[in-house]
Symmetry: C2
Subunit: 313 residues, 2 copies
Amino acid sequence: MKSLSEKVLSGEARSVARAITLIENGGSGAAELMREVYPKTGNATVIGITGPPGAGKSSLVDKLALFYKDLGEKVGIVCIDPSSPFSGGAILGDRIRMATLGLDKNVFIRSMATRGNLGGLSRATVDAVAILDAAGYHKVIVETVGVGQDEVEIVKTADVSVVVLVPGMGDDIQAIKAGIMEIGDVFVINKADREGVLRTQKELEALLNLAHRPDMWNPPIVKTIATESKGVEDLSTAIVSYLDFQKTSEGTGERRRSIARWRLTELLQERLLADLLGRNGTREKLDELAAEIAEKKIDPYSAVEEILQKPAH
Amino acid sequence: MKSLSEKVLSGEARSVARAITLIENGGSGAAELMREVYPKTGNATVIGITGPPGAGKSSLVDKLALFYKDLGEKVGIVCIDPSSPFSGGAILGDRIRMATLGLDKNVFIRSMATRGNLGGLSRATVDAVAILDAAGYHKVIVETVGVGQDEVEIVKTADVSVVVLVPGMGDDIQAIKAGIMEIGDVFVINKADREGVLRTQKELEALLNLAHRPDMWNPPIVKTIATESKGVEDLSTAIVSYLDFQKTSEGTGERRRSIARWRLTELLQERLLADLLGRNGTREKLDELAAEIAEKKIDPYSAVEEILQKPAH
């Protein structure tokens, strides 16, 4: 019988789905699976797409996926969802998306959500991308629903990061723009039939002129109307232009090392905590101390000392 | 000479600022400071404010702070900023905010941003809140710029969580609404002079009716126009109504323990990694392995094994 990793490598969509569930739950088989799958990665183009809510990212991602599909490529979409960390559970309706994209074996879509306190969303997302890559998907699109620290980190691990903005979103957009400025390799002004496109473009150009990228890349600005499929081909061209530039850029190796370091650190933290909690009595001790912190009988820092000083038994 | 923690406890704004910098940088004095400060916490009302960009959160926070200040209270504001994890650095112009709020010794404002790969933003933010609490600030407002996993986690540690929405933000708002639905104790529809308020209110009510909170609280919906200071008093009343409810609710203890557990886990992870990296040669080993991962000579899971199997020397 074929192993799960063999089935993944042969591109079976159902096995890909099962593999992602496995790595989401972080079971014992997850590390083994990833070890087997990892050497086969590196062929997909990973496209990260982020931007504020209301920018129409989902529509744009769907249209970009359709564009690639029509070229005969296999496309995987991974959505990151900022749902509550205390209950977990995916929110976005994959099935609604599937209706738009069609039940096509060449398009795979999956939402990732956080699972309880141990976090691991970043690690699980990056692993899911690796699984799709190894399974032969030509393009893997990582789409964030939120715009937070984790989401920015994840999008930075893509080969190319696309930041989607929209005209006239008020004052907060300035802060967001500045925050995500640095991660955009390509910028999109979506809903480009709306009022204020030119102003948004001018503001964006001014911000880009202020920023100095170490690799000297000058991020292109693409205007799209995703709902009418306008500008999607321009976006694909802009993505290719960055990927071509990247091949010749000296910064690429540094970027890859920086991503690998981040990924390794995430994995290490998760593993160190799991090892600690796996020791007899530690999990109970943690619950006890959490109750004491809640009642202000002890401060969290002293509680950490107490857990670490406790000998394994 | 007075120690830093003594100065913090006496409410000196400059010492509060220094203390927050210390815990942000995570230096050796940070744990000691927090141990001394922690027993004096628990008096402030901590208000978490989140919502999508463009909802006018900053204006609302400023007006709410002014409202409390005019009642003679001391107000601390902590902003969480989703800037790039690979370079770090705060984005929001605190100085611009200060101009609105006035250079008042009763209002303290501080942006928190991520510092490099080790993360710790959540921990640092929660610690900053504790410092302001111990320093005698009556209200501490935690405002997120992004809406991501970390931001949601942090807002959940507040005594009351306020979710700010705005009429007519397109399709994505549905996803966000669902994602932050569960964390809102109070909902605000800001920019309530805009078109589509009634529709947004109806949608929100429908979503709230679907949700079943374990504590049976029915979150109020407040309409505001922050730029004109309208509805700010209503918001303060809604906040008080939830806090009153909380005092009688059985769920409060469980919530506090859940928060304490999350906080303890965050701190443990940070500490375990720091301990590991502090061992001779481990940091160099990590860099070496990151380079090998980048070149696909090794997979991240095997790299973790290699680091953990390496004896300390």
